[in-house]
Structures are given as structure tokens and as C-alpha cells.
């Protein structure tokens, strides 16, 4: 897929002159029409043409995010417009098949990040195409594919139990959650993000196809946020409750901050995770109908921010500091102590990098209510010290809990980045 040598072969075949009459003659000799199906004759005529078109439309460089590197792409990468998140279960056994899967996935992910198809082009009419084809002609759309290992991958199936990082465990139960098995867990988690949903879906579909016989999809959730087209200024996105979400994220431009908050260090207890990051995923259903009936005052007190500006209550601008001690004229705190921002901000010591998307899953067939909410994704250096500590606090007293319900949950140890010639997860094996 990365090698373009094939062009010479390809061309030599393609350039053989073929007249319309030749084609019709071929088509007329029984069997061929049947074999090629209805559209194939047109295909013969346009094959060469397509080939040229493809070369002429080389993807634009700024639409590509390099796959290889010190860290995996898709973590501190500015969030793309869409996510297609997939959790897999490994059905094969032995670490060989697992390594083989990761090698195959790495080559495919690197190609797709470049806007290339998976595998060589295949014009053999006797075989299914290697790539499923729906991203042909599309630019890479800043596609990133981020791989992580679930806690279950460290059981006794693959001989990896001794490699499990000490801080990497299943999450404890939190107050009020109602986890549904179909949105939980997975041996492998893959976060696929792109500025085009079709490009993102294409990647998940092809990864799943390559995995057949070795791993199967456990759950998939698509997500979206306002697109860069709708908001060229790139302001903080709003969640489906109408509030800006992510104002308090640490600056990804600071290498120092990222080392402290996001990147696992080799000295943290698992050398193979140095440069990786731990991901928490929660599918958080929003009780949209109830929220839509609550007063603006109640909504703003719930978040602790103004809906329009995103500013902390009592302040003017979105990025004004959150001052939990500020009081109104009656002496009451501007920001209620059980508001989302008050609890999440706290003393500022608990940080993580959030990279969430909204989701819409149609309706709940039982109630007819919208099944919509937040696909919460966060990256952190230590799940227990960061995500778990924060979620324990929120699940106990966050005012927002009246309007949300955690229904899905998974954690993944996202590998360090792969270098060319290596593969995702190669430090683990």
C-alpha cells in the first residue's frame, strides 16, 4: 500500500489498447457478462481514466496527521469533527495472532492516515475488493486512529498478565451509574477521529474486516461535535445540553503539562507504557427531555456557568478564572458548591485531557425518548489518581447527575506511538 512500484505493472496492463468493439466482443462471449455483472462494461472503459484521476487528486498535506511518532496521534491532536469509537474482543488465542493483528492494523492505519486505501488496488473481478472503497477520492480529513489495550487483555490468554501496569484496573462502581453490558469493556479500544464521518467509519469498518477470525467488534459508538465549517473560529464546543464543554482543558501546547497530565512515564510502573496514555470512555446518556423543561436559572446553576457566554457565574468571559469564593450581593456564592464546574474544578489539582463527543443513538424504544448524550473520552497519566478521583467526587454530589446517566464504561491503556518499521503495541510484546 505504501509502495508505488505497482504503478508500472498497473500501467502496462492498463495501457494496452482496447477498442469499444473489443469490449463488446468480450462481453458477448457468454459468461463474461454474467461474471462481471451489470456495471462492469462501463468499468472497463473507465478503468484507465479512474487511475489518472486518482493520481491527480493527491491528498492535501494539511489534511494528514502523521500516524507514526513518539506518541499516538489522536490524543493531543486538536479534536476532529467526528469520532467512530470501536471496542473489540479478541477471539483468537496466543500472543502470535495478537501481534499479527496489530502489525496488520498498523500498516492499514498508517496507509489510511495518508489517505491511501488498505492493501493494493484490486481490479480482479473474481475477488472482493481489499479496501471497502467508500473513502476513495476523499482526502484523509485529519484521520487519526488511536489504539489501546483493555484490562481484559492482561488476563491469562496472551501471556500478558505480568505486563499489566499496577495502576491499570477496572474502574470501581460509581454512585448512580447504570452500566449496560453492550456499552462496556473490550480487549482493545480504537478511537478513530476525522473531519469526515465517512472517512472515520471507513477506517473502523476496514479494521474490523481485517480482524475477522482474530477479533470481533464488541461495541461501536459514533460521535460528533460542531464542525470546523460551522465554527471556523474553533471556539469551545457545546454539548447537547447547550453548554460549552472543555473550557478548563489543559493546554496541549505545553510539553511539560502534557508530561504531567497525559503521558504515562516509563518510570510509572510499566516501562512499555512510557509515552502512552490511559483512556477512560464513558457513554453518558443525557435526559434531554427533562433538561429541556428545566429553567435557564436551574441549568446555569447546574453547570456553574452562563449558558450564552460560558463564563463562570459572576464573571463576564468564558476564560475568566473560576472563583468559587465570589459572592453575590446577598452573600451567596455565585457558583453553587454542587455545580458541575465547582466540583470539577475543585482546587485545580485534578486534571485530565478531555476529548469528548456528542452522540445520538436514535430513540429508546421503550420510552420513545431520545437516546443522546456524551461520549466522554479522557486521557490521563494515571486513571486512579485522575479519572477515578474526579468521578468519585462528581458521582456523589454533582447537580448534573439529575440530568445524566452513565450507561457505558471502558478503560484502555493506549500504547506509545509506533515508529516506522515497528507496530502499535510492539513495546508490550
Amino acid at each position: 500500500m505504501s509502495d508505488r512500484n505497482k504503478n508500472s505493472n498497473d500501467d502496462s496492463i492498463m495501457k494496452k489498447p482496447m477498442t469499444r468493439r473489443d469490449v463488446l466482443r468480450l462481453a458477448g462471449t457468454g459468461g463474461l457478462g454474467l461474471l462481471l455483472g451489470g456495471g462492469a462494461i462501463g468499468g472497463l472503459f473507465t478503468a484507465e481514466n479512474n487511475h489518472k484521476t486518482e493520481a491527480a487528486q493527491a491528498p492535501v498535506a494539511e489534511d494528514r496527521i502523521p500516524f507514526y511518532g513518539q506518541h499516538q496521534a489522536g490524543i493531543i491532536t486538536p479534536a476532529q469533527n467526528f469520532v467512530c469509537f470501536a471496542a473489540f474482543d479478541v477471539t483468537g488465542s496466543g500472543s502470535n495472532s495478537l501481534q499479527k493483528l496489530f502489525r496488520t492494523w498498523t500498516a492499514a492505519a498508517a496507509a489510511m492516515s495518508e489517505g491511501k486505501q488498505v492493501g493494493e488496488e484490486n481490479n480482479n473481478h473474481n475477488l472482493p475488493p481489499v479496501d471497502t472503497g467508500e473513502s476513495v477520492g476523499l482526502n484523509p480529513s485529519r484521520l487519526t486512529i488511536t489504539f489501546g489495550a483493555g484490562t481484559s487483555l492482561f488476563d491469562d490468554r496472551f501471556g500478558l498478565s505480568s505486563k499489566r501496569p499496577p495502576s491499570f484496573k477496572e474502574l470501581p462502581a460509581f454512585n448512580g451509574e447504570q452500566l449496560e453490558p453492550q456499552w462496556c469493556g473490550g480487549d482493545i479500544g480504537v478511537q478513530v477521529c476525522a473531519d469526515d464521518m465517512q472517512v472515520a467509519f471507513h477506517a473502523v469498518r476496514n479494521l474490523a474486516r481485517m480482524a475477522r477470525g482474530t477479533a470481533v467488534l464488541r461495541w461501536v459508538q459514533e460521535g460528533f461535535q460542531r464542525s470546523t465549517q460551522a465554527d471556523p473560529s474553533g471556539g469551545t464546543p457545546r454539548n447537547l445540553l447547550g453548554f460549552k464543554d472543555g473550557t478548563g482543558n489543559p493546554a496541549v501546547t505545553s510539553g511539560q503539562d502534557m508530561d504531567k497530565v497525559v503521558w504515562a512515564q516509563g518510570s510509572d510502573g510499566a516501562a512499555w507504557m512510557g509515552g502512552g496514555s490511559y483512556m477512560a470512555v464513558r457513554r453518558i446518556r443525557m435526559r434531554i427531555e427533562i433538561w429541556d423543561r428545566s429553567s435557564l436559572k436551574d441549568q446555569e446553576d447546574t453547570f456553574g456557568r452562563y449558558r450564552t457566554s460560558g463564563a463562570p457565574l459572576g464573571s463576564k468571559n468564558e476564560f475568566d478564572p473560576v472563583d468559587l469564593s465570589a459572592k453575590d450581593e446577598k452573600g451567596n456564592p455565585h457558583i453553587p458548591a454542587n455545580s458541575h464546574v465547582a466540583l470539577a474544578r475543585g482546587d485545580g489539582s485534578l486534571q485530565m485531557l478531555r476529548r469528548s463527543y456528542s452522540y445520538s443513538g436514535g430513540i429508546d424504544l421503550k420510552t420513545g425518548q431520545l437516546d443522546a448524550g456524551l461520549l466522554f473520552i479522557s486521557y490521563q497519566r494515571d486513571l486512579i489518581k485522575q479519572f477515578v478521583a474526579m468521578q468519585q467526587k462528581l458521582s456523589k454530589s454533582d447537580r448534573l447527575n439529575e440530568y445524566i446517566l452513565h450507561v457505558g464504561s471502558a478503560v484502555f491503556a493506549c500504547f506509545p506511538g509506533a515508529s516506522k518499521g515497528g507496530y502499535i503495541g510492539d513495546t508490550l510484546f
Binding site: 459468461g31 493494493e120 481490479n123 475477522r212
Partner: protein
């Protein structure tokens, strides 16, 4: 997982069909970055001769068809004699012979809908065949009024038997037919939609898989010549699926579809996909 890819154009496919005109270019590539991406052989071996394989498959199809007519006659006789329980017992086993060779039957125009249409596949007035009688036996719990459908079904089965010897089987029909059989399973049998009233879906499931396996067995030597890894992979996955299906055997047949748990259905479906994916690459034996 290895994804070898072959790159001929429609022109090459065509040249294969003019059996004998052998000038072929052959491009194979392995997507793993370390491997050399292309190899070229200017003097490719002549196209494989599938005459024997086709003959073998035709014999199989005829033999299945003979048994199909025989067992269908027993079934329709029971229906006409008003023997409800016996008819129910004979229903799924008779169908299995048809399910093993379904793609061949489908190539014969209207025979497939006449024999095998489900309730909404055709206009209500034209609905006949196995599933029409299935509804009467299991839902209406009677054979009454089914005599005409029974006679028609037997006639259609006999017509299939008569036509099957004339059908133009080529290697590509076999290759695509094997995948089609598995696609049949994954679109209706694994979901329990095929046997809406009798819930005998696993009989059809097993028969479709057996039919695909027969084709694979016949073509196996050619597949092995072309791609030994692929041949092994397909063989292994047939074995896995068979083992899984065997767990649902009950007496001479299979358990009722409604006895399957959700996770069992899902696993069957996933193992089927895992088999169908490499099987769909069996067409390699035709291309290069």
C-alpha cells in the same frame, strides 16, 4: 492476517474465459511494509483446468437434487395424507438437500421463489412452496387446504431435478456460490428469519455451510496451489464453525432456533463472518 491482492483488470478476467489464451501478467503484493511490494512473472502458468472439479460438483448437485425430490415427496405425501406431526418431522430434513445447492437452484430463474419464498418475498397470491406449507403446519396447525401447494412443490422439485443437468456450471459459479451460501446464512438463517414458524433455522444453517464446504473441498487443491495460507485458514474456520454447530445437534437434527441465547447467536454469526471473509478470496484460483 495476510491480505494478498491480485491486480488484473477486466481484460485479464476476460482472457481467462477464452480458456487457453494464456498471456497473463501477474502482480501480487503483500501489504506488510517490510515485504517487497511487487513480484512479476512474465511466464505465468496456464490457467487451471476446472473440468474435473466442475464435473464433481455437478454430480454432487445432481445427487443432492435426487435426494431432494425423494424426501420432498415423502413430505408432500404426509401433508396430503393429513399427517401433521409426520409432515413437521419431514419438513426440515427435506429442505436441507435444497439448501446445500441453493446457488445452483437460484441460477434457474423462478424455481427458487417457487420453492423457497418467504411470506413477504412475493405477492401474497403467488406465495407457494415450503414456507407456505410451513405456516400452515406450525401456525395454523393443520394440513387442511395444503394439498394443492404440496402437489405444486413436488412438481417444482422435479422440475429443478430436470433442469439441473442442463445448467452451465463454471468455476466462477462455484467460487461465488460458496460465498453466497454463507451470505444466505448470515442474512436470514442466523437471525431466525428463514424459518419463521418452524424455527428449524439451524438445519438450513448447517446445510448451507455443508454446501459451501463441499465446494471448498472440491477446489481445495487449486486453492492450496495458489495460496497455501488461505487454504489452511479456510479449512480451520470451517472446522471451528462445524464444531460450534455440532454443539446444537439434537437427535438427527438441531435444536429449535428459539433455544439459542443471544450470545450464542452472535458467536455463530461472528464465526460465520470469520469464515466467509477468507472464503471470498477463493476467487484467486480464477484470476491468476
Amino acid at each position: 492476517m495476510k491480505y494478498n491482492v491480485i491486480l488484473p483488470t477486466g481484460i485479464l478476467v476476460a482472457s481467462l474465459l477464452f480458456s487457453g489464451c494464456g498471456q497473463k501478467e501477474n502482480v501480487e503484493a503483500d501489504p506488510t511494509p517490510a515485504a517487497p511490494a511487487t513480484t512479476e512473472t512474465s511466464a505465468a502458468p496456464a490457467a487451471a483446468d476446472f473440468t474435473a472439479a466442475i464435473e464433481q460438483y455437478r454430480n454432487f448437485a445432481v445427487e443432492q437434487c435426487d435426494l431432494f425430490v425423494k424426501e420432498t415427496e415423502k413430505f408432500t405425501n404426509a401433508v396430503k395424507a393429513g399427517k401433521l406431526d409426520e409432515a413437521k418431522k419431514l419438513y426440515a430434513p427435506a429442505r436441507a438437500y435444497y439448501e446445500r445447492i441453493e446457488p445452483v437452484a437460484e441460477a434457474l430463474g423462478d424455481l427458487d421463489p417457487n420453492i423457497d419464498a418467504r411470506v413477504n418475498d412475493v405477492d401474497a397470491a403467488e406465495w407457494r412452496g415450503f414456507h407456505r406449507i410451513e405456516k400452515a403446519l406450525w401456525e395454523d396447525k393443520t394440513t387442511a387446504g395444503q394439498e394443492g401447494f404440496a402437489d405444486q412443490l413436488l412438481k417444482d422439485a422435479q422440475l429443478l431435478r430436470a433442469k439441473i443437468e442442463t445448467i452451465d456450471i463454471d468455476a466462477s459459479l462455484m467460487v461465488t456460490g460458496a460465498v453466497e451460501l454463507l451470505n444466505e446464512v448470515s442474512s436470514s438463517k442466523v437471525t431466525g428469519e428463514e424459518e419463521l414458524y418452524s424455527h428449524t433455522d439451524l438445519y438450513d444453517f448447517a446445510a448451507n455451510v455443508e454446501g459451501a464446504n463441499k465446494i471448498f473441498e472440491i477446489l481445495k487443491p487449486e486453492v492450496a496451489k495458489k495460496d497455501a495460507d488461505l487454504e489452511k485458514e479456510i479449512g480451520d474456520r470451517f472446522a471451528t464453525l462445524k464444531q460450534e454447530l455440532d454443539a446444537f445437534k439434537k437427535g438427527d437434527g438441531y435444536v429449535d432456533y428459539t433455544e439459542l441465547k443471544e450470545d450464542q447467536i452472535r458467536k455463530l454469526s461472528q464465526n460465520l463472518d470469520a469464515l466467509a471473509e477468507p472464503l471470498s478470496n477463493m476467487g484467486k484460483i480464477l484470476g491468476v
